[in-house]
């Protein structure tokens, strides 16, 4: 019922606006076309200036309300992020000035040069000098931005430092898998046809001698504060994207074509909670490439911790080889042996 009512109200509003517009057309015919045109011109010329002023007020208010919610309000969480932020500020300054000047000119000219009966327009078809000036200025400004940008681009996409720890990230519909190379610091080979969602989610070839200490985790990745991390990124099914907004980086995960990205985290998760004043703060990995219906829920977490905490965590991880093949796990075998012994003992006691 309320639906029909609201439709009726909306329709009514349209009818009213339409009738007003029609009436104003008749009024303008009565007043004479020329007069009404002049009046419309005055109103719209005035609105130009109103829009300019209110527009800038709006920009200011918007910035006031929203700036604290952007990443620029807090220090970047990686060395790379610092450089991105620095570049952002330079770009904001340059484009900001151009924005303000050109918008003022546009709306000011529109207001100032609105039609007046006795104005003679200035027949001004071209001026080579002016045109050269405004070709040269943007060209020079852009050169500066390009130089800045490319220096960072080559730094970001360049080789990771030698001491970087390496983690393999695999995207799947809809989650993240992380692989650590284990004690030997070398990843075992993998082949996608070996994938078994339950025990071998990235398709590791167990026969490979480097494979047996590889560690797999899901959803949460641990990295160490201050130590560069190199990610080797891949996908199991469709294209995903490892989005690390806090670190100001992202890289696509493409099936069949591994990509890499490296960064150096600057603050632990705990430190970041203090910096942002948000006790729930987490470094989130967002999937930034549409990958299907669960795209919006494809969330991963990065825990940045101190070295000691990382070592503790790592010590608790069990190589996937043993998870997939419990019969090969010395601990599991031992445990199984103990339990068998126990049960045999029990049986023995029962028999007695």
């Amino acid at each position: 019922m309320s639906l029909y009512l609201s439709i009726a109200i909306i329709a009514l509003i349209y009818v009213v606006i339409f009738q007003i517009a029609k009436a104003s057309e008749y009024v303008s015919i009565l007043k004479g076309e020329e007069n009404s045109r002049k009046q419309n011109n005055k109103i719209n010329g005035f609105l130009m200036i109103v829009f300019l002023v209110l527009g800038f007020v709006g920009v200011y208010v918007c910035n006031d309300l929203l700036f604290d919610k952007t990443l620029l309000a807090h220090p970047a969480a990686s060395i790379q992020g610092e450089k991105v932020d620095q570049m952002l500020w330079i770009t904001i300054a340059i484009t900001g000035i151009v924005f303000i000047v050109t918008q003022i000119l546009l709306f000011w000219f529109s207001y100032k040069y609105q039609e007046q009966e006795n104005r003679k327009v200035f027949f001004f078809a071209h001026s080579t000098k002016l045109e050269l000036i405004w070709t040269a200025i943007p060209a020079i400004t852009l050169t500066v931005l390009v130089i800045f940008g490319l220096r960072n681009w080559f730094y970001f996409t360049g080789d990771a430092p030698k001491n970087a720890m390496v983690v393999e990230v695999t995207g799947k519909q809809f989650g993240w898998i992380f692989r650590y190379p284990g004690k030997d610091a070398v990843f075992g080979k993998k082949y996608y046809k070996n994938i078994d969602p339950a025990s071998n989610s990235v398709g590791i070839i167990w026969d490979d001698k480097y494979a047996q200490d590889d560690i797999l985790t899901e959803q949460t990745m641990y990295v160490v504060k201050g130590q560069p991390v190199k990610l080797i990124i891949g996908s199991r099914d469709v294209i995903h994207d490892v989005g690390l907004s806090a670190f100001r980086l992202k890289m696509d995960a493409v099936p069949g074509i591994p990509t890499t990205m490296w960064f150096t985290p600057k603050f632990t998760t705990k430190e970041m909670r203090e910096i942002t004043g948000n006790p729930n703060y987490t470094y989130e990995i967002s999937c930034d490439q549409l990958c299907g219906n669960g795209h919006y829920s494809m969330k991963g977490v990065i825990e940045v911790v101190e070295q000691e905490e990382y070592d503790l965590w790592m010590a608790k991880q069990k190589p996937q080889y043993f998870v997939a093949n419990p019969d090969k796990d010395p601990e599991a075998v031992k445990a199984a042996a103990t339990s068998t012994k126990d049960s045999t003992a029990k049986v023995a006691t029962a028999k007695m």
């Binding site: 918008q103 529109s110 681009w153 996608y192 046809k193 907004s245 890289m251 696509d252």
Partner: protein
């Protein structure tokens, strides 16, 4: 009008009087299977408007989800059925809406609706030709577009839903039927529709190029062409050179989908299906093929708007466009650069860093011709005598939006920043302002300005003014705050942000944006009402040249028949921008140069 008459008119090019033949027309030949470029233009426009309303409505629906993720709207279930169970849009429906909105707006509205309408309408009228080089091909171009529209429309009704992998349709998501429900038969229809669309735009584009090069009236040298025509010319060239590449990309995709090839597929394990046998393909190859069209496409959308804005701005400032040759040169530079920047959409795909750096340089280079255009428009306004017709307002709005959206292009084109901002709301804000809304403004400017020529009646001015101010303010209110969301890293194409610690803080802002979006959509309906009401009931045009304009279309009768000029086609003696020269308000192109006239 018979077919022979058109041919005859072409052969004798400007020296005959075969203008009026309408008395032979039946309803079918006049309104449906018309070969008159003006009627085809109207067919494109109205079909484009239907899609614009549908596409806009889709955006309202998905903004409803983003703004009110927890609310339930029973009426949604009444309309959408299983796609809105319990009054809430499902993720499947959300992604289908986002995808269809993008596809439809980019291709059907801002390509076919914009170029199709104004290239068809203005080229023959402004260059002084009786019709297109091939009116029959021109008619086919519309019918292929209509076929594409019907197929796309039908994809909305298939059991598994329309395609939902984004308008870019990246494989493997678009190639694997099991990766997403939308990639089943919805994608088959999407791709067929797009293939038909490519054919349509090629038939149109070839025609536009041939017509502009071969059928200009006597005296209409290339440098006397209005900037609209130049812009439409470069647009057509871009389309003809890049759409075939897109089609080839789609054909490979069809093979991967249906015939077991591995152009784009390699090393894939699909949940619930298992490992696929495809090996050795490259998903990135598709992106290269797609963006080789995809980037020129941005300019296919923008250039016609730029051309029309230049023309309308000059007419209503009563001043020549400033720097005609610089405007032309910058159009040319943009058209060339458009082919050399596609990989800036792929900075985060693992692109070779050196290659990336080249694309950074070429991308930022586009800012130079763009800046020239902006400064030239500003100088055109300077010391003019501006009449604020609704068309002029939209032209001014276009420049404002082009500045705002163009400047953020400098952020995104710089690869090191793009790594951070890619696929966030910052990108949404950027391309909606610079390409979406700005081109829409160009289109509105064109419709308001040439409506009297199309229908012999005026649009209602008051509605036009309301439409403009609400849309301009609303567009900024919708898209400006999105820059901030992008600077917080908020990703595009998310159905719901509530599980994200980093992004859920924008819930209130999203509600605000959605509310404004609905108001702006409602204001567009005012335009639609105005348009259809004025076709039949608008104030009649009494002056054949209502805007006191120099170009040739205003030398035709108020309601020109097929063939455009009842008598001979006028001869051209000057460029189209003699406004305010020697104190004379305007001197149309067909007026011979006087003895004492100064040169510009």
């Amino acid at each position: 009008m018979s077919h022979e008459a058109v041919l005859h008119a072409h052969e004798s090019h400007g020296h005959d009087d075969h203008g009026h033949h309408e008395h032979h027309d039946t309803f079918l030949t006049k309104y449906v299977f018309s070969q008159d470029h003006k009627m085809i233009a109207k067919q494109f426009l109205i079909t484009g408007m239907v899609w614009a309303v549908l596409g806009g409505l889709m955006s309202v629906l998905f903004r409803l989800q983003l703004g009110y993720p927890d609310a339930s709207f029973p009426w949604l279930e009444a309309i959408l059925g299983k796609w809105a169970k319990g009054g809430q849009i499902t993720p499947e429906a959300y992604y289908a809406l986002v995808t269809t909105h993008g596809t439809v707006l980019v291709f059907f509205v801002l390509t076919a609706g914009l170029s199709g309408t104004f290239a068809n309408f203005l080229i023959p009228l402004q260059i002084g030709a009786r019709d297109m080089a091939s009116p029959f091909m021109n008619m086919l171009s519309y019918w292929f577009f209509l076929a594409a529209s019907i197929v796309m429309m039908s994809s909305l009704f298939v059991e598994t839903g329309p395609f939902s992998g984004g308008w870019v349709a990246y494989p493997p998501l678009s190639a694997l039927r099991d990766a997403s429900p939308g990639s089943k038969s919805g994608m088959d229809l999407w791709i067929i529709s797009m293939a038909l669309f490519v054919v349509s735009s090629l038939l149109g584009g070839l025609n536009y190029i041939a017509t502009i090069l071969n059928m200009r009236t006597k005296g209409m040298s290339m440098t006397r062409l209005p900037l609209t025509i130049w812009a439409l010319f470069f647009t057509a060239v871009l389309g003809v050179l890049s759409f075939p590449v897109l089609l080839s990309g789609f054909i490979l995709l069809i093979f991967d989908r249906n015939f077991g090839t591995s152009f784009y597929l390699s090393d894939i394990f699909v949940n619930g299906v298992g490992a696929l046998s495809n090996e050795g393909g490259s998903a990135i190859l598709y992106q290269h093929l797609f963006w080789f069209l995809g980037h020129p496409e941005v300019y296919i959308i923008l250039l016609p708007a730029m051309g029309m804005v230049s023309e309308i701005m000059s007419v209503n400032s009563r001043k020549p466009i400033f720097g005609y040759m610089a405007m032309l040169g910058s159009l040319f530079a943009i058209a060339v650069l458009a082919f050399l920047v596609w990989a800036h959409h792929m900075f985060v795909t693992g692109l070779n860093p050196f290659l990336g750096s080249v694309f950074v340089l070429l991308t930022l280079l586009i800012a130079v011709p763009s800046a020239i255009k902006v400064f030239n428009w500003l100088t055109t306004l300077w010391r003019g005598n501006i009449r604020f017709t609704p068309g002029m307002l939209f032209a001014i709005g276009f420049v404002s939006l082009f500045i705002s959206g163009g400047l953020t292009g400098i952020w995104l084109g710089n690869a090191a920043l793009d790594i951070h901002l890619h696929d966030t709301y910052f990108v949404i804000a950027h391309f909606h302002i610079v390409m979406g809304v700005a081109s829409m403004f160009g289109m509105f400017a064109g419709v308001y300005h040439w409506f009297p020529k199309m229908y012999g009646r005026y649009l209602n001015n008051s509605l036009g003014y309301m439409h403009f101010w609400v849309t301009l303010a609303g567009a900024y209110m919708i898209f400006w705050p999105m820059h901030y969301e992008g600077l917080a890293g908020m990703p595009r194409r998310y159905f719901d942000f509530s599980i994200w610690e980093s992004f859920k803080q924008f819930a209130e802002l999203n509600r605000f944006i959605s509310t404004v979006a609905m108001i702006v959509f409602a204001a567009q309906l005012l335009f639609i009402i105005n348009f259809f009401y004025s076709i039949f009931k608008g104030r009649k045009v009494t002056d054949p040249n209502p805007w006191k304009s120099n170009t040739l279309e205003w030398t035709t009768p108020i309601n020109p028949g097929h063939g455009n000029w009842p008598g001979e086609i006028p001869e051209v003696h000057r460029w189209p921008y003699d406004y305010g020269k020697d104190g004379v308000d305007f001197i149309p192109q067909d007026v011979p140069v006087g003895d004492h006239e100064s040169s510009h």
